[in-house]
């Protein structure tokens, strides 16, 4: 019954399809520490899925499991209807999963354009020699990829910093560049690790608009981790709530908001 949900259309007219990714009974341990305890949930095609929880709840670990960086000791990850074998992060990326990082992992010395171009790596076929020699379709490929990148630069409104080294940019713009690079990979599933951490209200509003637009225009499925409850509740279709490595809630923002366990986790009750 889990595998196929009926596709439906949201109130604002977006198509939500079947299950794209499913986590089945995931447990992740680092030595004696249990970061994730027996968690199951799914991500449906076209939806914005949030994972929230207090500090140390295991959110980032979860995202790292999805992106293939961590390999859970127990449980299965299903993607596009197939069980995923243990694979390297770059193989996961080739399957159509892209991500951004909580503490920004861009090439500081390179321009915005070059940074975003690196996101196209999985789509480039010419080898190093061809690219160095600028021969055998390398030029054509570069042009096609540049075109794609320029569309994304236009989409995220960062034309004015195209040639600026990333190191010189303010924090909010770096976040946007990171999103651009992830988008350049044309992912089916986009993972955002705290896209709004450290932003002011206006930057948060901008970022929210971009996330919604990405989802709407490109139909990209988005899974995001976020601290800011207000933003999450406005943005996402469904929310998973984690606390101390366990799933304590899962459902629409309204359902989650009225869940007593969630309220306790956020307001704080004593853990015996």
């Amino acid at each position: 019954m889990k595998d196929t949900y009926e596709p439906y259309v949201t109130e604002d007219g977006r198509q939500i399809g079947g299950v794209l990714m499913e986590m089945k009974n995931i447990t992740l341990r680092f030595g004696g520490v249990v970061a994730i305890k027996d968690i199951s949930f799914d991500i449906r095609e076209g939806e914005i899925r949030a994972i929230i929880g207090p500090n140390g709840a295991g959110k980032s670990s979860m995202l790292n499991v999805i992106s293939g960086f961590y390999h859970p000791q127990e449980g299965e990850v299903w993607f596009k209807g197939e069980k995923r074998k243990p694979m390297k992060p770059y193989q996961v990326a080739q399957q159509g999963v892209a991500r951004t990082f909580q503490n920004i992992a861009l090439f500081e010395g390179m321009s915005v354009l070059d940074n975003v171009m690196t996101g196209r790596l999985t789509h480039m076929k010419s080898n190093l020699l061809q690219q160095v020699m600028w021969w055998g379709g390398a030029e054509k490929e570069e042009t096609a990829n540049r075109e794609r990148v320029e569309k994304i630069i236009d989409f995220l409104e960062i034309q004015h910093i195209r040639k600026t080294p990333v190191g010189r940019l303010p924090y909010g713009l770096k976040k946007r560049v990171e999103l651009a690079r992830a988008l350049a990979a044309e992912p089916m599933l986009l993972l955002l690790d705290e896209p709004m951490a450290g932003m002011n209200v206006e930057e948060k509003e901008d970022m929210s608009r971009f996330i919604l637009d990405v989802n709407d225009e490109f139909g990209t499925t988005i899974a995001l981790i976020e601290h800011d409850m207000g933003v999450v509740m406005d943005l996402s279709d469904r929310v998973v709530v984690m606390d101390y490595g366990k799933k304590i809630g899962d459902g629409t923002p309204d359902e989650v908001r009225s869940n007593q366990d969630v309220i306790d986790a956020y307001l704080g009750v004593s853990h015996d």
Binding site: R146, E150, H160, D213, E217
Partner: protein, 656 residues
């Protein structure tokens, strides 16, 4: 163009000019726009094809002759095409300021009764939808950028692409009708309606005929010898009459190319890439650029700084003379040539001014230092004086007759008259038809003989025939003791300091003058950085004691200079304060063209003005602010008031 005058009799509208350009210059670039990092370009025949498609689409969605079509968006070819397409079907384009908030738009859309609105993107669509709650005449919204638009209810909405596609598909049905409509246009039909921002009261719709626009474009093009191979960068608001004249009137008359920047923020890069030959910017743009250059030079290495200072001194001495073709000694000529090679050339290139043949500034007075700086680099920067009601041009400076303190002599075809109270009047072929639905205002501005009151006080210099503008006629007042009060004159002097962004001077019917000052965050911020002064916000920096000291120094310098002019020596500033927020058009304190709205500021900051005149040393205040999305908030501040040294009037006092 040489052929232009021969055919002139037939060129009675913009669509007629388009047809001529399509026939005579089919493969010449007409429009360029940078998109996706590349300059895309359209020839005259391609542009004509796009415009036709829009026009046919307009017919398909039911645009009637005489309808008003509002156009709201940033400068993009498609927006210009929509305006010309509107003219082709006999409708009147009404460009609006794209940064106006919904309630400002509501007034204009209601007033002109627009049935159709062409907008740039989703942001503007949202505003128009908000407006539709109160304004019910809008039948159809056409938007250009599809982004984010998929979920909208499209029963009364359409993408411009789709309008063009249906237009092209329906060309069999509408071709004859379209042909008949644009061919029927006459010299006296309405070309465009532009709303003046208005420093007081509601905006007024200025109706300009084809005659106004085409005659003006023709005269001013001849005056400056504009050519078919000129290039301009269209980046100023489309709702502003200047942009309409430059980017449509003169562009279609001469057939030159209009280049549209990629986005507002990339304007400087795009300027450099295009290297326009004909350029227009308000003083503020030149000020900002100069401030940036100076800041960069402060941070530059010692050798560069030395080269810059040395050669700028040479340029200051001989540059204007070289530009005006006056005789300069061989040694100076060599030094200037060397400077051009090492400093001026690269600098002009960085600023995007390498190819500027004719450059204009207008709208506000420009600081003499700023003006001379650009001229000394060899940029032919000139001043013009104009207004919407004149289809821009009233006076212009001739090449080789350029001075910072005048606005030049009258443009060909313009007559000037100074009334007894000093107000400037003009009459020209560019004089507007009327204010839309406002005969009282029309009558009070334009008399039966076609003379128009500018509302500015000024005089014509006898020796040269140059016009000098002192101030807005209604702002010129008397102080309590009867001395002349000309606030703008003093404000301009204050604003010439890079640290001062805006100033408002009070003193009408008062014993002495006082001022509000806005600091320039870029300049003062850079100074603070260099002097290790930490600040968390605009407000904190603006209230910093050392900033106040600097501003006090500036005010005292202005007082010295004001005191030199006998007539205006009463305008010295006795007390001032630095405002805790930037004056902003969103709060109604400035017009959209960034002119100070005196009355509104007087009302809004009444408590501060009172404090300036009751002798108190500090004042606490709460100010309402409007955010860009239209929400309101408030900021609290305690401001320090400063007394300033003034120079007492010379000995004539006794004679009074």
């Amino acid at each position: 163009m040489s052929t232009a005058s021969a055919e002139h009799s037939a060129l009675v509208s913009i669509p007629h000019l388009l047809a001529r350009n399509m026939a005579q210059l089919p493969d010449k670039a007409a429009y360029r726009e940078k998109e996706f990092g590349i300059w895309q370009s359209w020839t005259w025949s391609q542009s004509a094809d796009e415009i036709r498609a829009i026009a046919l689409g307009f017919l398909e969605i039911g645009v009637n002759k005489g309808d008003f079509i509002a156009v709201i968006g940033r400068n993009r070819p498609a927006m210009y095409w929509s305006m010309v397409a509107a003219q082709m079907v006999g409708a009147v384009p009404v460009p609006l300021y794209q940064d106006a908030v919904a309630e400002e738009m509501a007034y204009v859309l209601e007033h002109c009764g627009a049935r159709f609105v062409v907008v740039g993107d989703q942001e503007q669509v949202d505003k128009v939808i908000e407006v539709q709650e109160t304004v019910h005449g809008i039948e159809h919204i056409v938007y250009h950028d599809r982004r984010g638009m998929r979920k909208y209810d499209h029963t009364q909405m359409n993408a411009l692409d789709d309008v063009q596609a249906t237009g092209r598909a329906a060309h069999e049905r509408f071709e004859a009708e379209l042909e008949a409509r644009w061919r029927a246009l006459t010299y006296d039909d309405i070309c465009v309606m532009l709303y003046t921002s208005g420093t007081t009261g509601r905006p007024k719709g200025v109706v300009l005929s084809n005659r106004n626009i085409i005659e003006t474009s023709k005269n001013s093009s001849e005056f400056d010898h504009l050519r078919v191979d000129d290039e301009i960068l269209a980046y100023l608001p489309m709702a502003w009459v200047g942009d309409f004249i430059f980017s449509i009137g003169q562009a279609y008359w001469n057939g030159f190319c209009v280049n549209c920047p990629e986005s507002q923020d990339t304007m400087m890069t795009d300027l450099r890439e295009i290297g326009p030959t004909y350029y227009f910017a308000p003083p503020r743009v030149f000020e900002t650029q100069l401030t940036n250059v100076m800041i960069r030079m402060e941070d530059a290495g010692r050798l560069k700084k030395w080269l810059f200072d040395r050669f700028m001194a040479v340029a200051k001495r001989v540059g204007p003379a070289v530009l005006d073709g006056k005789s300069v000694s061989g040694m100076d000529r060599f030094k200037y040539w060397l400077g051009d090679l090492l400093v001026y050339g690269p600098l002009k290139n960085t600023l995007g001014f390498s190819r500027v043949r004719v450059g204009y500034t207008a709208g506000e007075a420009i600081g003499p230092e700023i003006f001379d700086f650009y001229r000394s680099l060899g940029i032919n920067l000139k001043q013009l004086y104009g207004q919407t009601e004149a289809s821009v041009f009233i006076t212009q400076q001739k090449d080789n007759e350029v001075r910072p303190d005048t606005v030049g002599t009258q443009t060909p075809g313009v007559e000037l008259r100074i009334a007894e109270n000093g107000e400037v009047f003009y009459r020209s072929p560019g004089v507007f038809v009327e204010y839309f639905k406002n005969p009282e205002s029309t009558a009070s501005t334009k008399d039966a003989d076609g003379w128009v009151a500018t509302g500015d006080a000024g005089f014509i210099e006898e020796a040269t025939g140059h016009l000098r503008i002192i101030d807005r006629a209604k702002d010129v007042g008397k102080m309590a003791d009867g001395r002349l009060f000309a606030p703008k004159y003093v404000e301009n002097k204050l604003k010439f300091f890079p640290n001062i962004l805006e100033a408002v001077v009070f003193g009408n019917n008062r014993d002495y003058c006082t001022a509000f000052i806005n600091i320039d965050l870029t300049a003062v911020g850079n100074w603070a950085e260099r002097n290790n002064i930490a600040y968390a916000s605009y407000q904190e920096l603006a209230g910093h004691p050392r900033v106040l000291e600097i501003i006090q120094g500036h005010v005292e310098a202005v007082n010295e200079s004001v005191a030199e002019d006998e007539m205006l020596s009463g305008c010295q500033i006795h007390r001032f304060l630095v405002l805790h927020k930037e004056l902003d058009a969103d709060d109604g304190e400035l017009t959209r063209t960034r002119k100070v709205r005196r009355r509104i500021i007087e009302e809004k900051f009444d408590d501060l003005i009172t404090a300036l005149y009751d002798g108190s040393q500090t004042v606490s205040t709460v100010t309402e602010v409007t955010y860009e999305d239209g929400r309101k908030g408030s900021i609290k501040a305690t401001l320090e008031l400063r007394d300033v040294k003034t120079i007492s009037a010379p000995s004539q006092m006794a004679a009074e």
